[in-house]
Symmetry: C2
Subunit: 403 residues, 2 copies
Amino acid sequence: MALIVQKFGGSSVADAERIQNVANIVADTYREGNDVIVVVSAQGDTTDDLIAKAEEINPRHSRREMDQLLAAGEQISISLLAMALEKLRIPVISLLGWQAGFNTSSGYTMARIKKITTDRLNSELDKNKVIIVAGFQGINKYGDVTTLGRGGSDTSAVALAAALHADKCQIFTDVEGVYTADPRKIPNARKLKEITYDEMLELATLGAQVLNNRSVEMAKKYNVELEVLSSLNPVPGTMVKEVAIMEKMLIRGVTKDADVARVSVLKLDDKPGIAFKLFDRLAAKKINVDIILQSNGRDGTKDITFTVNEANAELAKECIKDAFPNVADEDIIVDTNIAKVSVVGAGMETHPGTASRMFDALYSAGINIEMISTSEIKISVLVEKDQADRAVSAVHKEFFPED
Amino acid sequence: MALIVQKFGGSSVADAERIQNVANIVADTYREGNDVIVVVSAQGDTTDDLIAKAEEINPRHSRREMDQLLAAGEQISISLLAMALEKLRIPVISLLGWQAGFNTSSGYTMARIKKITTDRLNSELDKNKVIIVAGFQGINKYGDVTTLGRGGSDTSAVALAAALHADKCQIFTDVEGVYTADPRKIPNARKLKEITYDEMLELATLGAQVLNNRSVEMAKKYNVELEVLSSLNPVPGTMVKEVAIMEKMLIRGVTKDADVARVSVLKLDDKPGIAFKLFDRLAAKKINVDIILQSNGRDGTKDITFTVNEANAELAKECIKDAFPNVADEDIIVDTNIAKVSVVGAGMETHPGTASRMFDALYSAGINIEMISTSEIKISVLVEKDQADRAVSAVHKEFFPED
């Protein structure tokens, strides 16, 4: 007898058949004697369809009305899932974000959960009911509907698990767990039994799309045990927790992130405050900068190179012009033909040879490394975009030789 | 400067173009210096689509989850209409049923409005905002979403107008007002400038589908001035109020209701309590009985004939068998090949000749009258179903001769 939070994404509830499938999973968990709270996203393309409707009417709509609109998506999926459970004779009730007590900040379309008022939830659990909660949504202090932004349903689920001290938070997806590399591209990628929060965070940041970063951060903060598993194939998934057994693996995974642009500005005066001037402006525009490299040029100047998301490349260029009006146009270089390949794993901290093994594997495959960045549990390199898949394959083979 | 409540049905907000059209009407009213509250139904077929989804998953769903599901429909339409008004630079806010303070009884799918808590509404009006309210929905004492049943958005609008002492409640539809007969069938049907609540109630009950009955009852009770008008054609509509000028018309309209069955039971013992026995059973099954006729047969027996909705005909037959187990099957007669044609108008009270003029018109057209029922402001007759349209035409011509 445990309290289990289960989260199902939009593709898991896309149609009547899949909703029945989810209902069966939930019913099984309930019949085993557990308290069950289920968090669901909007069905399949519902959110995109609603956004398209809004864009057609007024592309410059307020974010407040957008949240009011989008919240209808989960309202539909929770009631349909509740009906599917009623069919299985499971006592059940669906709750919207505000009914489930999700109090958020007032920033529409990207609200943060401030507090979950658990009265209603506890009272329904006391009635022995399965609770279906609308993910992604809450209510602010004005009594207005808010949404949590991309991946918000994961965050809803983890926050519920934290607030109710659930024994486990299961995130159901269309893959069976967290893999050492993208299994669609690397055929012998292995599923991990366990992974730490920090490793999961690095993997998520570096391109693995299994879990939303905010939800992992929250799970780490409140020590919520996460399990990533498949809604279609009932096999054990990957546990995400504070301390994970290493299974004799040095690294947890190899990832690729093609959404990268490299921006360089050359021949800057070599005096203090230059870097601050630039990165302060980038921060003001909310541009996340990843790898930064500063090098001295000849003749008393220096070059700064950094990477940003591709969508921010032009905006970053404007920041440079703004910070250094005298820099010549040809000294600002934006390169989007680039991808980031990373290895992640707490094990590498104590094995300094990891980097050299990675570089060696890339060298053997004839792939040029354009930039390098390391942290305690990851090593990232930039390579040419069309070499990225080959790079992942070569590095994965080095650390996970074919059986 | 007045407070005006405007209600738009599902077809008025069916797509982006129509939503823009509604936004223009609302914006014009606001720019004339009025406070405006708008009540909207779900877009076009949304409600039917949601019902179909629910039926596919579980035809025996709870009504509580059905209401949770259906309420998403208006959530979508209110936010889209708000966005359209934002485009016109009108300050606007959309409110769901619970946000607008609609407290209802707890009976799902057919809740009654108990009270409107107007704090939020007044505070948004104070900010000079147009308020878009989701019609058809509210919240019960458990904090659960309820819906008001068919025509519920009309009721929402009238209730709002009553609670806020609005100067007028405008119901926008796809016709230009209330007509003396169905204008699609009777080409010279005339639009009424004014009509009383009672007359409107009779017309609605007798088949005119312009306004929902509950909303008219509520408007009468709280003396809310209603106007029925077109969202597509900006001409004055029909005012519904306590006292209406008669415009020299004896009657307000001629209607047809084809959803009628006549049920007869013959050769009952002629003793007291017989009628009670039958109609008590019909009431227990919630079968509405309209016209009732009791006649003495020969040989000390009597016959009872009454009309019900076609859908209730078989159930009524069962009630008869239940009440009078000894009646022979051939003495229970159900006739569905029948329609009710009515004239409505307060003017006929003081003009006793109305009935005879109606019967004369039908006789001249060669139409046989099968049953007659009268009240202070209406006369209904039953005729054969395939003669009903001709009957309406003949009676309308009698009271509204071609110009």
